[in-house]
């Protein structure tokens, strides 16, 4: 098909487009939402208004936005560290689960002591758990060249089965009539609520700290520089003496630690108990958040809040508009796709070239 447009490479990537692209993708998703609402027989504009405003209905709901965004932001910051270096950690879901296992083990064993050290210890344990689970693909990649995408992904399924085994077995609540859940976590093992009347708890501070730390590392530290160079031009990096191995380890472990802590945040937060499924897919959504946030911690902060809003809006769409439950997943996937499409404008610009016939194969 011959169109009178051509993609022309830009002399250098457009910084404006880097931040404009997600907004364009968002707008495009909004247009698609209007189309979808109309197709479902709703008045598109008022449906969109409901969709956008419902999450802000009351204080509790606003608290929910933050409590859902916190794990997404935390994990995405960790993942972004790796993505920048071309290290693809797709195993955040499993690393989160192992964080749950590690933190949960502590909570169940020492919960009754009521010690003030329990919660910090759980966070550390979660970090170590996620760390170790991410170390497996890192090790297999550096030592055996095994593709980290596939290994980390497979480990997601294994971690889920491991947690299931624990909950159905040794960790079953003795007072729970053999139902598959752990006993409720002792108060010493729970994050304190910081805003009365909501579920907002202190774990949001960890997410904020991650954003700040991530920014410091990536924008201001030498390691951050190494990661970037490795991602952009691997051979140049090696030439400069940056160890690819080290980059793989750092990249994987950052995501693992973040995901593990996020796991503890879930069981010591809104869940307050351990179930066979602790995560609503945060490990995968965080990947979208990382990209949406341009692999930049500040951007991720906003992207995480946006993604959380999308979840809330999706629920509202079910409750108030009668839309099917898969609305959220559909919008998230569409947004991601459109984002990638709009991203091309960072490196290319569209030129209108009337009257020029361009052959398919020679087109860039």
């Amino acid at each position: 098909m011959v169109l009178p447009f051509r993609f022309e490479p830009r002399p250098k990537p457009s910084p404006v487009m880097v931040y404009l692209s997600p907004l364009m993708a968002l707008a495009a998703t909004g247009v698609l939402a209007l189309v979808l609402f109309a197709a479902m027989g709703l008045d598109p504009v008022s449906a969109l208004v409901v969709f956008v405003t419902a999450p802000f209905a009351d204080l509790y709901s606003i608290g929910e936005i933050f409590i859902k965004a916190a794990p997404l932001i935390l994990i995405a910051v960790g993942l972004a560290v790796g993505f920048r270096a071309g290290v693809w950690n797709i195993g955040a879901e499993g690393q989160l689960t192992v964080g749950v296992i590690a933190g949960g083990a502590l909570a169940l064993t020492y919960g009754s002591t009521g010690s003030g050290l329990l919660l910090p210890a759980m966070v550390v344990a979660g970090a170590i758990g996620g760390f170790l689970w991410a170390a497996i693909p890192a090790f297999l990649r550096t030592r055996f060249n095994a593709n980290e995408i596939l290994v980390s992904l497979m480990l997601n399924y294994v971690a889920a089965l491991w947690l299931s085994y624990l909950i159905f077995g040794p960790w079953r609540d003795p007072a729970g009539f053999n139902f598959p859940q752990s006993e409720p976590l002792a108060p010493a093992a729970l994050f304190p609520i910081i805003v009365e009347g909501t579920r907002l708890n202190a774990s949001v501070f960890i997410a904020l700290a991650a954003v700040i730390l991530g920014w410091l590392v990536m924008a201001r530290s030498f390691v951050g520089f190494q990661l970037d160079v490795t991602g952009m031009a691997g051979s140049a990096a090696r030439f400069a003496g940056f160890s690819t191995r080290r980059m793989v380890w750092i990249g994987m472990l950052a995501g693992g630690v973040a995901a593990g802590i996020a796991g503890v945040g879930e069981i010591a937060g809104p869940l307050g108990q351990i179930f066979p499924t602790a995560s609503p897919g945060y490990g995968y959504t965080a990947i979208i958040v990382a990209f949406l946030g341009r692999l930049n911690p500040i951007g991720i902060l906003f992207a995480g809040l946006l993604m959380s809003l999308l979840y809330m809006s999706g629920d509202a769409a079910q409750m108030l508009l009668g839309m099917p439950s898969s609305t959220t997943a559909l919008f998230q996937g569409t947004l991601f796709f459109l984002l990638l499409a709009c991203d091309v404008l960072i490196n290319y610009r569209i030129r209108y070239v009337p009257g020029v016939r361009v052959r398919q194969e020679a087109a860039t």
Binding site: A57, D58, Y60, S61, E64, K68, L161, S164, Y165, F168, G169, G176, F177, N178, F179, P180, Q181, P184, R199, E266, P270, L271, G272, Q273, F275, T277, S279, P280, D315, Q318, M319, P324, S325, S326
Partner: protein, 365 residues
């Protein structure tokens, strides 16, 4: 029943002032609509667990046309989300909220005492608590009766059970199945294969294949879809519609079935909220009037004599004369668990974690 509207309003208005001051959610006027919120863990389809919940909701809407408005939310898998949604439904004026699965129980137990503007009911919860009623079916009564059919119709004396998860509800169901079969056929055994999923069609199909390969000629389980029945039909063995009737799909191989009917719970709870008399109740019912378990179909190939045996058992259970778990009952290791002449207490059933003699397989984990 015609009530003069003005008189009714007058009476109710006085009552509602009282009710409002005592903080109870109550309908203020005869024509005020009761908003009911229901959250489903999965998607509603035309068979299976969610279907029967939805059927009860439809029965509720039919019983109180124009007086009940329902909001249904599907596919809420995670507890964090369920808790948020229950709360949001309550703050949107829903006065009666239903959780439809055991997984909601933990969230509701936490939430119900703090939300005074609504009452909560949870299906498959454990026990009622502050502002939370629960209702659960005595599945084992249904599986016992189907066990009789299986015990009589098996030629290999090997029955198969596709186990979803080793939770008490499944454990007592398979145990009762065995006991029912052995009540007519002391040589029968039950083999279990665990799929670790409530719905996983490929695994369920393979599980049926594995059981048939071991010689099972009657397959039961906790099917939520027709897959097990269809797989059994393909292999030429019998399938039992346990907690569901799949005869729309499984045209030839469904030996017998029982369904879950939650409408008594939905209706009773709604009525109580409308009248202002709601209190947390534990409803654990099986066969019989206002029960949650109803025997459904039987295959034309089922002999009249077997059908009569099943019906006799059904009536005896409904009347309280027969308890499927009447002693003496031994577990797989031969240890006596229920003494002769006694029946098992409810609490032991709720937490059942052992398999009866004759069941081959473990509880896993």
């Amino acid at each position: 029943m015609e009530l003069s509207r003005r008189r009714f309003l007058g009476g109710v208005a006085a009552g509602s002032v009282l009710a409002a001051s005592s903080g109870l959610p109550r309908l203020a006027a005869a024509d005020e609509v009761l908003k009911v919120g229901i959250i489903h863990q999965g998607a509603i389809s035309d068979t299976g667990w969610e279907y029967y919940q939805a059927a009860a909701r439809l029965a509720l809407e039919a019983a109180y046309p124009g007086r009940v408005e329902t909001t249904v939310i599907e596919n809420i898998l995670q507890n964090q989300d369920a808790e948020r949604l229950f709360r949001q439904l309550a703050s949107q004026g829903h006065k009666l909220l239903f959780g439809t699965t055991f997984s909601h129980y933990a969230s509701l137990k936490k939430l119900a005492p703090t939300v005074k503007s609504a009452h909560f009911e949870c299906c498959a919860g454990i026990t009622a608590s502050d502002n939370l009623g629960i209702f659960e079916a005595r599945h084992y009564e249904g599986t016992y009766v189907t066990g009789i059919a299986a015990g009589r119709m098996t030629k290999s004396n090997i029955l198969g059970w596709v186990g979803a998860f080793p939770v008490p509800q499944v454990t007592y169901s398979v145990n009762a199945f065995m006991l029912g079969a052995r009540s007519v056929n002391p040589d029968a055994v039950v083999k279990i294969v665990w799929t670790n999923a409530w719905v996983d069609s490929a695994k369920e199909k393979d599980a049926v294949a594995a059981l048939v390969a071991q010689g099972a000629d009657v397959i039961s389980g906790s099917p939520n879809t027709p897959v097990q029945g269809l797989a059994a039909e393909e292999k030429g063995v019998w399938a039992i519609g346990s907690t569901g009737d799949f005869s729309n799909y499984v045209k030839k191989a469904q030996l017998t079935s029982f369904v879950l009917d939650w409408s008594p719970a939905y209706l009773e709870a709604a009525k109580a909220v409308m009248e202002g008399t709601w209190e947390p109740k534990t409803r654990w019912r099986g066969l019989g009037e206002s029960g949650f378990v109803k025997m459904a179909t039987h295959s034309p190939e089922l002999p009249e004599s077997v059908l009569k045996e099943m019906q006799a058992a059904e009536q005896a259970i409904a009347a309280g004369k027969l308890h499927p778990f009447s002693g003496p009952i031994n577990d797989q290791n031969g240890t006596q668990r229920v003494a002769a002449g006694s029946t098992i207490p409810d609490d032991d059933l709720r937490g059942m974690n052992w398999l009866v003699e004759g069941v081959q397989g473990q509880l896993g984990g």
